[in-house]
């Protein structure tokens, strides 16, 4: 059982944070962030060429985290690899100590920094989960036997509570659960009503939910998230607070902290997933406010 799985099963309110490997091989800053956050959060979630931009691999980032004595979740997209590469990388990651896997379809290459790339998408997120589940049963996706003990992963996937119509996301979520997902991290949510409605809608699903938190840094960043995250609405009251705050960054952290407290207090989710997008060093400030 992974540490993440153990904490979630014990009913602890789990805090995960997203970290993006560098564009290059210098892991100094990456390691600094991991060291800084290690005692404060529970597990690190490592992106896989987020936004379709070419970075150091998620697996290499996960290894750096393991070597710092913390637990990673490896994001695995279907954008750049076919099913042979996906399964092979899953096996490789397992032997290197990575157990938590988050399956994602992946942003389209033309949105990234190598837009000429050939998009793969041999497997969508459901397909990646099916592949991992199959490996866990000792067989590859084509039914060929694996040798020796099969790997034991803890599988996760993503869901967007802001999506409209929500029914589409819920049906997809059920497919992901059926394919092996046991925990879900959501897109950023700012509206408590959205969080409550989603929480109610998934209350029968026997899975763990981590609400996505992206601390806002300014009015501009609020505009940015509404542009990039499908369906997300930053409530007017939050926009107003950011507008009048003398220190909008700090106010953004305060807003996130209040939101996390409400999620925890009302039992809307099993934890949160903080995506600081470059401002990871401010996470301890946010956590101090909890």
């Amino acid at each position: 059982m992974t540490y993440l799985q153990k904490l979630l099963n014990e009913g602890k309110f789990v805090i995960t944070a997203e970290v993006g490997p560098p564009k290059g091989v210098d892991l100094t800053r990456f390691r600094e962030i991991v060291r800084l956050l290690k005692g404060e959060i529970d597990v690190f979630n490592v992106t896989d060429g987020q936004g379709a931009s070419m970075r150091l691999s998620s697996l290499a980032g996960c290894l750096a985290i393991l070597s710092e004595g913390a637990e990673p979740v490896m994001q695995m997209t279907g954008r750049d690899r076919n099913r042979i590469a996906i399964q092979s990388e899953l096996l490789g990651a397992y032997t290197l100590g990575v157990r938590n896997i988050l399956a994602i379809t992946g942003d389209y290459p033309t949105l990234g920094d190598n837009p000429q790339a050939k998009p793969v998408y041999d497997l969508d997120s459901v397909g990646i989960l099916l592949a991992a589940s199959s490996l866990m049963r000792g067989k590859d996706l084509s039914g060929n036997e694996l040798r020796g003990e099969p790997p034991r992963f803890y599988l996760g996937a993503t869901v967007n509570p802001n999506f409209s119509p929500l029914e589409v996301e819920l049906i997809k979520m059920e497919k992901k659960i059926e394919s092996g997902a046991r925990f879900f991290q959501t897109q950023a949510v700012y509206d408590l009503k959205v969080a409550e409605d989603f929480s109610k809608a998934v209350s029968d699903f026997n899975v763990k939910i981590l609400f996505g938190i992206i601390p806002l840094r300014s009015l501009k960043s609020a505009k940015f998230v509404s542009e990039v995250i499908p369906g997300v609405k930053v409530p007017r009251e939050i926009l107003y607070r950011l507008e009048i705050a003398p220190d909008p960054k700090l106010e953004g952290l305060r807003i996130s902290a209040e939101f996390i407290k409400k999620i925890r207090e009302y039992g809307l989710a099993h934890g949160v997933h903080i995506m600081a997008i470059g401002a990871e060093k401010s996470i301890p400030v946010l956590l101090d406010m909890l």
């Binding site: 099913r83 994602i104 379809t105 942003d107 389209y108 033309t110 949105l111 998009p119 998408y121 041999d122 497997l123 969508d124 997120s125 459901v126 397909g127 099916l130 592949a131 996706l141 084509s142 993503t158 967007n160 999506f163 119509p165 029914e167 589409v168 049906i171 997809k172 059920e174 497919k175 059926e178 394919s179 897109q187 499908p230 369906g231």
Partner: protein, 227 residues
């Protein structure tokens, strides 16, 4: 219908640099419909080439170029013009061009068109891709909307997380086909189809190059256990 788009003339002129005597071939079907290789376009190309100093040895619009035996027969009438040519400019699709190459053997052949996709003629001059010939038509849920060709990611189990206000992440001018599939299934009262998990596609069914003969069926060049 194979959808083609004519290359910019500078690119065509560049391909033909060093070849002075050019034979032009158009196609009566798709390229005519796309206005990239019908009688009119072949005539216009002839004029343009002549304006930059080329000699056009002859022109023909084959019916259609991709019918190997028929084109072989029809080109016999032009054997003299062709024998006097340094190159052929093909105003059909990439398939038509290769049919010509098979017939004309050693004569250099250049494409005047970029071959884009297999598509539907929406209305005059507007074409949309509807099928990428995946080898096993999956449109079993009966909605008649193909996610393999119409979703940039070829998602088989529903929309990716990127659809915004109903529009596609990769192409914001296009509605997310998966949302359309969902809406149509819902309207038809058949949402259960959407709930089904579609296993990963079998790509061994579309090993390139595909082959099919009436007698022997689909034949792939690469041996595969999967099919």
């Amino acid at each position: 219908m194979i959808i083609t788009k004519q290359k910019p003339f500078e690119e065509i002129a560049e391909e033909l640099s060093g070849y002075d005597r050019v034979f032009l071939v158009g196609c009566s079907l798709c390229a005519t419909a796309c206005k990239t290789g019908g009688e009119e376009e072949v005539k216009a190309m002839k004029e343009k080439l002549e304006a930059v100093g080329k000699t056009v040895t002859g022109t023909v619009v084959l019916d259609p170029v991709c019918n190997l035996q028929k084109s072989r027969r029809d080109l016999r009438k032009f054997s003299q013009e062709i024998s006097q040519s340094d190159a052929v400019l093909c105003m059909a699709c990439g398939n038509g061009l290769q049919t010509l190459a098979e017939i004309l053997e050693d004569l250099p052949i250049f494409p005047a068109n970029d071959t884009l996709f297999l598509g539907e003629i929406k209305r005059f001059g507007v074409f949309e891709e509807r099928c990428i010939q995946c080898g096993k038509c999956l449109l079993t849920s009966g909605v008649g909307l193909c996610p393999i060709s119409r979703c940039p990611k070829g998602m088989v189990n529903g929309p990716c997380g990127g659809a915004k206000d109903g529009f596609c992440e990769a192409n914001p001018e296009m509605k997310c086909i998966w949302l359309e599939i969902y809406e149509k299934l819902k309207k038809m009262g058949r949402l259960d189809e959407f709930r089904k998990i579609i296993p990963p596609l079998d790509h061994s069914l579309r090993v390139k190059p595909g082959k099919y003969s009436f007698r022997r069926g689909v034949v792939n060049d690469v041996p595969s256990k999967a099919s």
